[in-house]
């Protein structure tokens, strides 16, 4: 199981703040998690379409497509940041 967290605009778009996601196998990658979410279709496919500026953090650290995701990890989807 991993914890998926959606921030800011993505939380509004998906209509949920967080969810638990069953993990098939002992580990996966950020790219595979995004692909699985895209497969839900609709708003998920739109917001996470390749080329959209969504960044991913694994355990509160910015990650890349190839970054590993293991059971118990928190995987957050971040729209482009606008602080300061």
């Amino acid at each position: 199981m991993i914890r998926l967290v959606y921030l800011a605009r993505l939380r509004d778009a998906f209509g949920t703040r967080a969810e638990d996601w069953p993990l098939a196998g002992s580990s996966t990658t950020v790219a595979a998690v995004l692909e699985a979410l895209r497969a839900r279709g609709g708003i998920w496919a739109d917001e996470l379409a390749p080329g959209r500026a969504v960044r991913v953090a694994v355990n509160q650290t910015l990650a890349h497509d190839e970054s590993a995701v293991a059971p118990g990890d928190e995987v957050a989807l971040l729209p482009p940041v606008t602080g300061g």
Binding site: Q60, V81, G83, G84
Partner: protein
């Protein structure tokens, strides 16, 4: 070094005094304050809501300060970033950098703000007469941050 995420306002003099901490080696303090404007992209802004990602925000800001300390000769640096509901003219962010000489302080202060704008997980939502909307990221912020990439022309690193 300190990184503070808070809903309440901050006092510039008090924060600078805390940063200086009676250290006579400090010869320069550069400060940047970011404020809420009443206008953005031709719309009147009545309120701003600032959201962040607790847990990651602190780590991201500390990493930015660490990087600034690696690039310039700094005594210390401070970031205060407010979250929650803000009104036009409210202060949003304070970056204060202390060093022996002004060159390092000015450059590191600008670097920290440029990186904060593109790497720290904060998001602004504006309330306008037409409703509320998430603020779009600006390409100019990416350009500003890219100036500091290793070896990029224009970056004022100590290398």
């Amino acid at each position: 070094m300190s990184v503070l995420i808070q809903t309440e306002d901050f006092d510039l003099s008090r924060e600078v005094a805390r940063l200086r901490n009676g250290n006579p080696r400090i010869g320069a303090v550069a400060c940047f304050m970011g404020l809420v404007r009443d206008m953005n992209e031709d719309a009147q802004v009545s309120r701003l809501t600032l959201e962040h990602y607790p847990g990651m925000t602190e780590k991201a800001l500390e990493a930015i300060v660490d990087e600034a300390k690696a690039r310039w000769d700094l005594v210390d640096a401070l970031i205060v970033h407010r979250v929650g509901e803000l009104l036009p003219m409210d202060a949003i962010v304070l970056v204060a950098v202390a060093s022996s000489h002004r060159g390092d302080a000015f450059a590191a202060c600008e670097f920290i703000m440029d990186y904060l704008k593109t790497r720290a997980p904060f998001w602004k939502k504006e309330a306008t007469a037409e409703g509320s909307r998430w603020v779009d990221a600006r390409e100019s912020d990416d350009v500003a941050a890219a100036r500091w990439a290793d070896g990029a022309a224009g970056a004022a690193g100590k290398v």
